[in-house]
């Protein structure tokens, strides 16, 4: 899967090169119809340094226990784990102490809009600079608002951006649902050949309609998932809410090592949600 994606990216870059060569200005990626988006919800994170995220927009997940993935971190609502940085960004900070031969007291933050903002369909985007290093697992994702009534994966999950810190130039876009959850999620990776997601901000987005979910990095479409792609029922037909978090360790990413550097920050410039205009 990964190998295919690399070839895809390489091919894309080659084709870009040719296009540049021949002076073609037009984006020749997969064609999608022009969509007319209207902003309905956003957080620009313009608070002063050290402010907790806006409580009218975000709630916290608190605690540890692995979150179903054998993760190591304890999520807190402490401003040392989640706060605006005074430069227009939200910083979610993973912290840890090196004790003899391993990391201890690993804390981080996970914030969510459940009960505050939920929406079905539309464009969900965030401009993010990722953390890095083995065991670092930042994510920007959506979860079905009915998670507490129908449970996961029936509720559906749309991972707009997930990154493994030991591969700082690759992100994945994934959907999980009944019959295609966990390791069987429908996923595709997007890789930079010559830069990384932790050295600058990049825009991660999905555009979600009744029968498609399109994944974008910096407005480049790299994945389209339709009911025909999923190996189970299409459950993306009800409101979802937004989650931002930095997990540490676990069965998706592996564990932090002596070569991991703490603290690590995921900086989020903004999160914006649009609805398609009629």
């Amino acid at each position: 899967m990964e190998k295919n994606s690399k070839i895809f990216v390489s091919a894309a870059i080659c084709s870009l090169l040719f296009i540049t060569l021949f002076g073609c200005k037009k984006e020749s990626g997969q064609k999608i119809e022009q969509r007319n988006w209207q902003l309905v919800w956003s957080d620009e994170f313009n608070g002063s340094a050290g402010m907790s995220p806006d409580s009218t927009k975000w709630k916290f997940d608190i605690g540890n226990g692995g979150w179903g993935n054998e993760e190591l971190e304890t999520y807190t609502k402490d401003t040392s784990n989640a706060s605006t940085d005074g430069n227009g960004n939200l910083a979610i900070t993973a912290k840890a102490n090196w004790v003899t031969d391993h990391w201890e007291n690993i804390t981080s933050a996970r914030i969510k809009t459940i009960g505050l903002f939920e929406q079905s369909y539309g464009r969900f985007e965030a401009r993010i600079k990722t953390p890095w290093g083995p065991g670092m697992w930042p994510a920007f994702w959506l979860l079905g608002s009915n998670v507490n009534s129908v449970a996961w994966p029936q509720c559906g999950e749309i991972d707009i951006m997930e990154l493994r810190g030991q591969k700082p130039n690759i992100i994945n876009g994934t959907v999980h649902g009944p019959g295609y959850s966990g390791g069987a999620g429908i996923t595709k990776s997007f890789a930079f050949e010559n830069t990384r997601f932790d050295v600058d901000f990049h825009l991660f987005a999905v555009e979600w309609g009744k029968d498609y979910i399109d994944f974008f990095v910096d407005n480049t479409l790299y994945e389209e998932i339709t009911p025909g792609n999923v190996t189970g029922n299409w459950v993306f037909d009800h409101p979802f809410y937004i989650i931002l978090n930095v997990a540490v360790g676990g069965n998706y990413v592996g564990y932090p090592t002596s070569q991991t550097t703490f603290p690590q920050k995921m900086l989020v410039d903004y999160v914006k949600v649009y609805k398609q205009a009629d």
């Binding site: 690399k6 070839i7 390489s10 091919a11 870059i13 080659c14 090169l17 040719f18 540049t20 060569l21 890095w132 290093g133 083995p134 670092m136 493994r164 810190g165 030991q166 591969k167 700082p168 130039n169 930079f192 010559n194 830069t195 990384r196 932790d198 050295v199 090592t257 070569q259 991991t260 550097t261």
Partner: protein, 621 residues
């Protein structure tokens, strides 16, 4: 993948051609001093201009081109690390250089693939070694390799500096547990990768070093230069750098300056912080120095020795031919001493700074001082000497002539104030007999100087025997004049002494005790004193008395204390200044011996060194 890559290359080539065609103007006739920007070092053979030079002490045949094992293409670089003890060289190492030099400023990393015949740790790999000044070196220490091909990265700290670089690659590899192994390197080339990120730099391994009490004229070398880069694998990798990648700044150039290579020169009193940057990025670590000013040093040389050279075994003196001394500062564990060789009016002097103790070793040719009588050393200190001591220890390695073996012996003499003196040369002549713990003087191998004077200058360190017997008083102690009614006497020809007193109780001392007539007057002689007791015939109540009187004489003692002891024992010492000039008489207030019970005095004790004569020990009102 490979095919796509070559398509890309063709595309890039076309781009370059297009650019060349559209070039606006050529600077005909002007030839800029530029160097080739060739990126490849070894892909499938030596790149243009590449040469190999093995280290002279290595196994020079260790490197070969291998056409069977390779990561890609047709061949790889093979390095056969020899076994330990290989007569042709016991390690592999060398330099791959480029002639002409190359302009690497357009790249940011040297990359290669490597594998080995077994898991192994390559001592060092890097670039920037040109077998000359090697100004811009970068190296990775202890590179872990195994039997799988793995890609490695050596980032360039500041590519803009590498416009004329000869050193393409260098390595050193040693046997693993004594046995050789083989490793291969392939696709060795410089690249510009956007996936190398998060540069950090440091000096002193990132530590903030603080040095106090620095003297004008001192120099410090900034060291332990490093960079860390986050690799495409997400891990931070530390590399070791040469100083030239850094620019150094002194916060106070009038106090300390720092040159391009990180050498700090101290110019004046005050404080200064030395920091560094690489390509505008601040480096972790610093050097903060507090300068106290010029050192306080003797302005006059030590007195010139007058003893004939044939009566001397000299360790350090301009007046004599010195025997071989292996080290004037062995830097033994826990020693903080720093030594400097300085000259005062042409006379060589050794200075010890931060002296807690210093080991001086002459064991390669031990000194036979069995025919010598005295140890001499001249000493100067800027430090206050009140209540301070300076100690001289001699160590003899015994008949086997080597350290250990159960036949070593040592002895230490402690010198008080006086004779210690601030900012004056003092000449110490210590009878070798005073070193009572030395069972032999014929294999002296070490000298240890210690004490609580942190700053000393020494000169004229020698053993001698000028034939003079050890001096003794030629006149009797003065006859006391106190009225016997007011006296309680322990030892005096002038009074009735406490009956039954033991003047030489066996308390395990090594002191040679005797009573000698000096000009007809009975006198106590403590030869080679370490300690010596006096057991009174019965407990004495001296609470009606006011003073303890003593007469004493010593030309060779550098430490002497008298103790008064009551039942318990409860004891208290009193310092007797030594050496003396003729007989010294003291009347010590008995209050000085608190908390000794003056109603129940049972013993005396003398502790010190040298040969000491004592007379007229009595209490009086």
């Amino acid at each position: 993948m490979k095919k796509l890559k070559s398509i890309c290359s063709i595309a890039a080539l076309v781009t370059i051609l297009l650019m060349a065609v559209s070039c606006e103007k050529k600077l005909d006739g002007l030839k800029l001093a530029t160097y080739p920007t060739t990126a490849d070092v070894f892909i499938d053979g030596f790149s243009t201009g590449l040469y190999y030079a093995a280290y002279g002490t290595s196994k020079v045949t260790a490197f070969n081109v291998d056409y069977s094992v390779k990561y890609s293409g047709t061949c790889s670089m093979k390095f056969e690390v020899p076994d330990a003890g290989d007569p042709n060289g016991s390690y592999a190492g060398g330099v791959f250089g480029a002639n002409p030099a190359r302009d690497l400023s357009g790249y940011n990393v040297l990359t290669f693939w490597a594998k080995a015949s077994q898991p192994a740790t390559i001592v060092l790999v890097g670039f920037g070694n040109d077998m000359g000044t090697s100004k811009y070196q970068v190296s990775l220490a202890n590179l872990q390799v195994n039997s799988n091909w793995v890609e490695y990265y050596i980032p360039i700290p500041d590519p803009s500096l590498l416009t004329q670089e000869n050193g393409m690659f260098y390595y050193a590899a040693a046997p693993q547990n004594g046995r050789g192994y083989t490793f291969w390197i392939d696709e060795l080339k410089f690249e510009k990768l956007g996936t190398i990120a998060h540069a950090n730099f440091g000096i002193f391994n990132g530590h903030d070093s603080i040095v106090d009490n620095v003297e004008t004229g001192e120099e410090f070398q900034i060291s332990d230069f490093y960079a860390t880069f986050n690799l495409p694998t997400g891990v931070d990798q530390k590399s070791n750098l040469s100083a030239s990648y850094f620019t150094f700044t002194s916060s106070n150039p009038s106090v300390a300056t720092v040159n391009d290579l990180g050498l700090v020169r101290v110019a004046d009193t005050g404080s200064a912080v030395i920091t560094a940057k690489v390509a505008g990025t601040g480096a972790k670590g610093s050097l903060t120095i507090s300068v106290t000013g010029l050192k306080i040093a003797p302005t006059q040389p030590a007195p010139v020795p007058t003893i004939a050279g044939n009566k001397v075994i000299s360790l350090f003196s301009n007046a004599y031919t010195n025997v071989k001394v292996d080290s004037w500062n062995t830097h033994w564990q826990f020693s903080t001493a720093e030594n400097q060789n300085i000259q005062i009016n042409g006379d060589d002097v050794i200075r010890y700074k931060k002296l807690n103790f210093v080991g001086i070793e002459f064991s390669s040719q031990p000194v036979d001082a069995s025919a010598m009588a005295t140890f001499h050393i001249d000493l100067w200190t800027p430090d206050t000497t009140a209540n301070k001591t300076f100690k001289v220890k001699l160590i003899d390695f015994g008949p086997d002539g080597v350290y250990g073996g159960g036949d070593d012996s040592n002895s230490e003499i402690s010198i008080g104030s006086p004779p210690l003196s601030t900012q004056n040369w003092i000449s110490l002549n210590i009878p070798l007999s005073s070193f009572s713990g030395l069972s032999s003087k014929s294999h002296l191998a070490q000298l240890v100087l210690s004490g609580d004077l942190p700053d000393v200058y020494i000169d004229n360190v020698y053993f001698f025997n000028d034939g003079s017997t050890s001096p003794e008083p030629t006149t009797a102690a003065p006859v006391p004049t106190f009225n016997a009614a007011n006296v309680l006497s322990v030892f005096s020809d002038s009074y009735t002494n406490v009956a039954g007193t033991n003047l030489n109780p066996n308390w395990g001392q090594t002191t040679v005790f005797s009573q000698v007539p000096i000009a007809g007057n009975n006198t106590l002689k403590y030869k080679g004193l370490n300690y010596q007791g006096i057991q009174l015939g019965s407990s004495q109540n001296v609470s009606a008395m006011s003073f303890l009187h003593l007469d004493y004489w010593s030309a060779s003692s550098f430490s002497l204390n008298v103790f008064l002891i009551s039942t318990g024992p409860v004891e208290k010492s009193y310092v007797l200044p030594v050496p003396t000039s003729g007989w010294a008489g003291v009347d010590i207030p008995l209050s000085s011996f608190s908390p000794v019970n003056l109603a129940d005095v049972i013993q005396f004790k003398f502790v010190g060194n040298g040969d000491v004569y004592i007379d007229n020990i009595f209490f009086h009102k």
